[in-house]
């Protein structure tokens, strides 16, 4: 599916690790290949952690730590912020292994930084048991006061043999992220989307009681205070006493920008082919501000859509609205039925925690193209 010379980045299935590489056909950028976010099943996946420097639109390089599936050894291609999308079919067992080989982490040298060495994976929203929850402090409470083994590389077991916790109730969007010093490590980019999908008769359904969708689009909302990314910000630091977000991101990007073809995750196209199409948009909030989501049309009118899931659980009664709020740690899954061709702008307004005042540069737009 080609729109304006861009390869549509969406990957709808994921029975195996998929690495999608698309070539941009624009002559100016003909030599560049663009790596779109990996989609991996969580049935058995290994994640590593890598340094990743992202140059923001204003030219500022910001260092991140990101999860990656395809970056074993010295292979650092395919690094993305957020990390790969993990998918699991509800009711099936999953294993997510954190491989600490060559992982960047806090400097050693003081008690403060030693307390926050290593990394973990917290499967946010899956209600994991303590041993698999990835939280050093609660792990230590249960395991003789030590969380060292938790930080060295662990396999996190979802629905281990004989148990099914993540069942059809969990069909929807969740997240994964490191839970070591989450103030620092989340800000450093150690997060990704975790999608639980229905299996069997529920394949392709937005939740266990909800309708089928034809297309899906995932959006992870995050914010960046570059001061948190400096060497001075480690362990306990007064830098962490305040948060001054400077960059506002959807899928790691500052917004849809024709001049910047790397933001493929911010453009989506749907071909109707004579039928209406249901598009699910999964919103995952790993931000440290408030945010609201809307879909505007070319006349800047907010269009109605239906909210089906909150925090990966189905609402008892879906709600048709023109705006949803996403607060830190929340996920919301909405569905919009597309019937007419046109260009639409799903967008997020980031706002502050005190009085929900919009940040001046906190409006991040994406582009949805619907063709007949």
């Amino acid at each position: 599916m080609k729109i304006n010379g861009l390869f549509s980045p969406r990957v709808l299935t994921g029975s195996a690790l998929l690495l999608v590489i698309s070539a941009y056909s624009n002559t100016v950028l003909a030599q560049k290949a663009f790596v779109v976010r990996d989609v991996a099943t969580a049935n058995n996946v290994s994640l590593v952690v890598r340094d990743f420097t992202k140059t923001m639109r204003d030219g500022t390089p910001v260092p991140f730590w990101v999860f990656c599936t395809g970056c074993m050894g010295m292979n650092n291609t395919g690094l993305t912020l957020p990390g790969p999308i993990l998918e699991l079919t509800a009711g099936t067992p999953g294993q997510v292994t954190l491989n600490m080989m060559m992982a960047p982490q806090e400097d050693t040298g003081s008690i403060a930084s030693n307390a926050y060495l290593g990394h973990t994976i917290h499967l946010h929203g899956l209600d994991m048991d303590t041993q698999n929850d990835g939280v050093p402090e609660s792990y230590a409470a249960q395991n003789s006061g030590s969380s060292v083994t938790l930080r060295e590389g662990v396999t996190y077991m979802i629905n281990p043999p004989g148990t099914v916790r993540v069942d059809d109730r969990y069909i929807g969007s969740h997240m994964y992220h490191c839970h070591v010093h989450t103030v620092k490590h989340l800000e450093m980019g150690m997060y990704g989307m975790f999608i639980v999908k229905g299996g069997g008769a529920l394949a392709g359904h937005i939740n266990a009681a909800g309708p089928k969708y034809d297309e899906e689009w995932n959006m992870m909302l995050s914010t960046v205070d570059p001061r948190y990314h400096t060497a001075a910000a480690k362990g306990d630091s007064t830098i962490f006493a305040d948060y001054i977000p400077k960059y506002f991101l959807i899928n790691g990007e500052e917004g849809y920008d024709v001049a910047n073809p790397s933001n493929l995750d911010l453009r989506h196209s749907v071909t109707l082919a004579g039928q209406s199409k249901n598009l699910v948009i999964r919103l995952m909030g790993i931000l440290s501000t408030q945010a609201s989501f809307e879909i505007r049309d070319a006349n800047n009118v907010a269009l109605p859509f239906t909210l089906y899931n909150v925090d990966g659980f189905a609402l008892k009664t879906p709600q048709t609205v023109t705006q949803v709020q996403i607060s830190p740690g929340q996920t919301k899954d909405i569905m919009v039925t597309l019937t007419t061709a046109g260009v639409f702008y799903p967008q997020v307004q980031f706002s502050d925690l005190r009085s929900a005042q919009p940040y001046p540069n906190g409006l991040v737009k994406t582009e949805l193209t619907v063709v007949q």
Partner: protein, 389 residues
Amino acid sequence: MPVAQTSPFREEKIVLHPIKILLLCVGLLGLYACGGGSGGASSPTPTPMPMATPTPSPTPTVTPTPTVTPVPSITPTPTTIPVPTITPSPGGFSLFIKQGTVTITASPDTLNGAQSLSVWGYSATESNTGTTVPGVLLEAREGETITVNIKNDLSQPHNFSVRNLPSTQITPAASALIDSGKSLTYTLTPTTAGVYLYEDTVANGVNSAVGMAGALIVRPAQALGKVAWPGGPTYDKEALWVIQDMDYSHWNLVALDPSQGPSKVITASYTPNYFLINGMNGFQAMYAPGTELRGPAGTTTYLVRIVNSGQYAQSLHFHGNHFKVISRNGVRLSEFEEIDTLNMPPKETAMVLYTISQRGYYPMHVHSAQLETGNGVYLNGTAAMIVGE
């Protein structure tokens, strides 16, 4: 009294830490065999955590065995801790508006962050030995009348306002001022079970922001037992979380300075650096009786009443289980949605039902940057623990 809002013993459960073990020894009055372990109770120096292997690490992955849940090694027994009782002086509550202190304890992991904060608040005693933040817990039953006598021991006028309580259910109105050195007696006849925020609304909210806030719990008639409201959902245990943020340098230090005062606070700017839950920092609050959620897994459902008396929205994320939101700002919801993250905008209240479904230790923590810290010290912000036994 079913809910312990504050306790003289802000007990924490952190193992392998001599200072903590010492506290446990004192707090549990020798019920536990203390002094074992490398540090010993008498050693003043902390035992550093064992070093994690630096990268690159060729260690093969360690797979925890999730089916075997070891029994927690040290289980504090919060029921043995005495809890201050609210003086049920004939006919009602007595509150004293005073300057007080919030003691922020250090992180046991890094030993950083100990700090004493000056606040204004509502004490249960004239002598000012009691806790002032949050204010004295007020409790009533639906339809019953309580009186709240408030004496102003500060030098500015103050008032008393209960958010979302209909004006017909409280006299005098919030417009009445309690002058310095004077007292006023309020009569409350709340008719709707729930949790309410009370606060001082004088001085553009500065007084509330520097500590003058607390909670009013209204329960249904005693005969109805443990129900959130008449005909409402049942529960086994209760907890109350009053969460509050403070911009200590720019608000407290200015408002409490006799040469400046509340009117000198520049209210357009607010950069809070302390985030309290029931007047405690995270490491204090985690295992504090009345703040932690604890009980047998599978058979313990908590009614958690939550009040955000501060100015920042706090997004509270619970591990271990999703939970049901049953009311918002006093509005009883007809459908109890199951979520794992509750956004609490400033000055709002909520009630949730959390069922402890698994054994083990699960945090409840705010999910945004500096709110997880106390002045930049990690985990000293808004946090509590959930313990499934």
